[in-house]
Symmetry: C2
Subunit: 172 residues, 2 copies
C-alpha cells in the first residue's frame, strides 16, 4: 500500500490554496492542500505499524511551531510546479530529517527539503509563465500554528485517506 | 466551521465502495468512503478543542471491533440513497450514542442510527430503481477490524480534511 506523511494547514490557508488548485492542480480532488514531509512510499501492514510507532516518538520530540507562508515560488526549470513557499523552521527540518534517516526506513531524501504547499502543477511551459506571473503578483502572506501531522494512504483511484494523526509536543 | 465524525474502513472496502461511488455519488471527490458516526455540526475553535477532548475519552471506552458489511440496501422512500449495510454492534451503537448525548454537545440524533457506507445518492427515482436493482444482485460480504475513528472539518469547496484520529481501546 502507498503511504505519505503531510501537514494539513488551517482551513483558512487550505481555502486560499484551493482557490488556485481548483483551476491549476489536477490533484485538486485527490488530496486537500498540504505540506509534504515524506513523499509517497510503499509499506505492508506490519511495516506501517512499526512506522506509526516511530512517528509517535518523533511527534513528541517537537513542539507546535509557527508556519509562515511568505511568497509564491516555482520549481522551474526542474519542473513546472508553483507553490506557496514556507519559511524553514528547525521543527520542520527536524521532522523531515527524522523521517528520512537510517533508523526510520533507511531511505535517503530524494531532494533537499524545500517546505512548500503546491498550488499548481502539470503545467505546460506557456501555462507556467502565465500563471506564475499572475500568482506572484497576488502574493501570499500568512502565519499560523502547526500542532500535528498526518500519515495518509492512497486508494486505487489515486485519492488519499488519513490513517493517523500525530500531535506535536510532550503533553500527549 | 463544519465538523463531522466518521470511520474510514480499510483500503479494500474503500476501493470497492469507490468503484460504485465514482459513477453514482456526487460526493465521490469530496470525501473518501466512510461510515458516519455524527453528521455535520458547527463548532468554533474553543468548542472543537473541548469536543476533541471528549472524543479522546470516548475512544478509550471501546475496544477495536469487527465491522461486517453484509448487503446493499436503500433508504427509499425516505431518500434515494443506496448503501452498504453495516451490522449493528454494541461498540458502534455506543460510539454513536456517546456523540449524541447531553454531555457531548447537547444535541439529539436526527434519526435512529443505521450504520452504513453510502455508495450512491442524489438519484432520480428511475436511476434509483435501476441502480439498486443491479447493485443488490452484485451484493457485498466483507469483514474487517475497526480500531479508530476520525474528526473531520469541511473546506469552502465542500471537501473534508481530517482534523484528528482517535484510536479505540485502552492501550493508548
Amino acid at each position: 500500500m502507498n503511504y505519505g506523511i503531510v501537514i494539513f494547514p488551517s482551513k483558512k490557508l487550505q481555502d486560499i490554496a484551493n482557490s488556485y488548485r481548483k483551476r491549476y492542480d489536477p490533484h485538486y480532488a485527490l488530496v486537500p492542500p498540504h505540506l509534504t514531509l515524506k513523499n509517497v512510499f510503499s509499506a505492508d501492514d506490519d511495516q506501517i505499524k512499526d512506522i506509526a510507532g516511530k512517528l509517535s516518538v518523533i511527534s513528541k520530540k517537537y513542539d507546535p511551531f509557527n508556519l509562515k507562508v511568505y511568497k509564491v515560488s516555482s520549481f522551474q526549470p526542474v519542473n513546472n510546479v508553483i507553490y506557496f513557499k514556507v519559511e524553514s523552521k528547525p521543527e520542520l527540518q527536524g521532522l523531515h530529517d527524522d523521517m528520512h534517516n537510517q533508523n526510520f526506513m533507511g531511505d535517503e531524501p530524494e531532494f533537499a527539503f524545500v517546505p512548500h504547499i503546491t498550488i499548481a502543477q502539470k503545467l505546460s511551459n506557456d501555462e507556467h509563465s502565465d500563471i506564475f506571473g499572475s500568482l506572484s503578483m497576488l502574493g501570499i502572506d500568512h502565519e499560523e500554528i502547526i500542532d500535528r501531522f498526518h500519515l495518509l494512504y492512497q486508494l486505487e483511484n489515486g485519492s488519499w485517506t488519513v490513517y493517523e494523526t500525530f500531535r506535536l509536543g510532550k503533553e500527549q
